[in-house]
């Protein structure tokens, strides 16, 4: 009982950290419980690991016109569609609460003290990095679909999910999956430069994740209909201490304390850490 009370009193974003662990157990082998459950239900197809449910390939299939793959891999398609629907209605909470890739890099980023970590302060620059990459990625997907580029996928060349799975496999079963130049870059950028040495540790999510970028777009599109849960700042309570800027893992809060909806993942770090309780989570009202 005392433990439960102590847990309730914790001012940190405790439920989010619990969901990180749930996300790891659900998607990453040797557990991969969600993948195992789906495979158990429909019959085993592939080894149950993070590769079993890819969060990015369905987008590439759509943009390259290979729609028939979506019927061939309904689990991947279903997961991505579900994540987008949730992003549209409730905000991109899959990215903030369940995604194991972002969870690992964000957890690692807490090792280094704040002054020694990098971040881009201007949200418009962060946004242009994110959607610039998405634009280039869509162009390459289109070229693959039109047959101008003779490769099967661009996603696998910078996939942080496969690197995470390879790392976990190397630790848990001493097996080494495929490593190539792309995975080394991802390992350096996702976990070291973009993870440990950036504020929030989600530089890879911000810049290179198509699901994250699409969820952000759906989030801001959902805002137009006005029924998603969002974070609102109380100008009266705010004393410009900048703690929200320092704790936001997506660099979505700029120096004017305005929140960029295309970057925000509804992680509630600003809500929990603000000393003046200036941020609250509310259902958005239609103006």
């Amino acid at each position: 009982m005392r433990l439960i009370n102590a847990f309730k009193k914790l001012s940190i974003n405790k439920w989010r950290y619990i969901f990180w662990i749930i996300g790891l157990i659900m998607f990453v082998a040797p557990f991969a419980l969600l993948t195992r459950l789906i495979y158990f239900t429909i019959g085993n197809i592939y080894p149950p690991d993070l590769h079993g449910i890819c969060f990015r390939m369905p987008f590439e299939w759509i943009f390259s016109g290979r729609i028939f793959y979506l019927f061939q891999y309904p689990i991947m398609f279903g997961t991505v569609i579900l994540a987008l629907i949730i992003a549209f209605v409730l905000g991109p909470i899959f990215c903030g609460w369940l995604c194991p890739v972002g969870a690992v890099s964000e957890a690692l980023s807490r090792i280094i003290p704040f002054p020694y970590r990098l971040r881009i302060k201007d949200t418009s620059i962060t946004r242009s990095l994110r959607y610039g990459f998405l634009a280039g990625w869509i162009v390459i997907s289109l070229l693959i679909g039109l047959g101008y580029i003779g490769i099967s996928s661009i996603c696998c060349r910078y996939c942080a999910s496969s690197v995470l799975q390879s790392l976990v496999d190397a630790i848990s079963s001493s097996t080494v999956l495929y490593w190539h130049s792309g995975s080394i870059i991802v390992l350096i950028f996702w976990l070291i430069i973009g993870g440990v040495f950036t504020v929030g540790g989600r530089a890879w999510c911000i810049m290179f994740c198509p699901l994250g970028a699409m969820s952000g777009l759906f989030h801001s599109l959902g805002a137009k209909l006005g029924f998603y849960r969002t974070i609102r700042r109380n100008n009266v309570k705010c004393n410009n201490c900048d703690i929200c800027m320092k704790v936001c893992p997506m660099w979505a809060i700029d120096s004017n304390k305005s929140i960029d909806r295309t970057l925000c993942i509804n992680c509630k770090e600003c809500v929990k850490r603000c000393p003046n309780n200036a941020f609250t989570m509310v259902w958005r009202e239609i103006n």
Binding site: Y116, S181, G182
Partner: protein, 72 residues
């Protein structure tokens, strides 16, 4: 105006990453690499990162050195 130019330039640079990735990528696994691990690909990315964040990295290093009083 300058800010818009910066945003556009960032957008173009970010948009060029996926095509660059396609051009640079060698299609080999590291175990079968003829260069024996001396891969130019991470070096290129490292150089880009150092150019982008050089000033910040320098200030971080100087902060670390100053805090730990290495020079005293």
């Amino acid at each position: 105006m300058l800010k818009k130019l910066r945003i556009m330039l960032t957008f173009i640079l970010a948009a060029s990453y996926a095509p660059m990735n396609y051009l640079i990528y060698c299609n080999l696994t590291c175990l079968s690499c003829p260069l024996g691990g001396f891969c130019p690909y991470p070096i290129i990315i490292f150089l880009v990162m150092i150019i982008k964040f050089g000033r910040k990295i320098r200030s971080i290093i100087s902060k670390i050195l100053w805090k730990k009083d290495i020079f005293i």
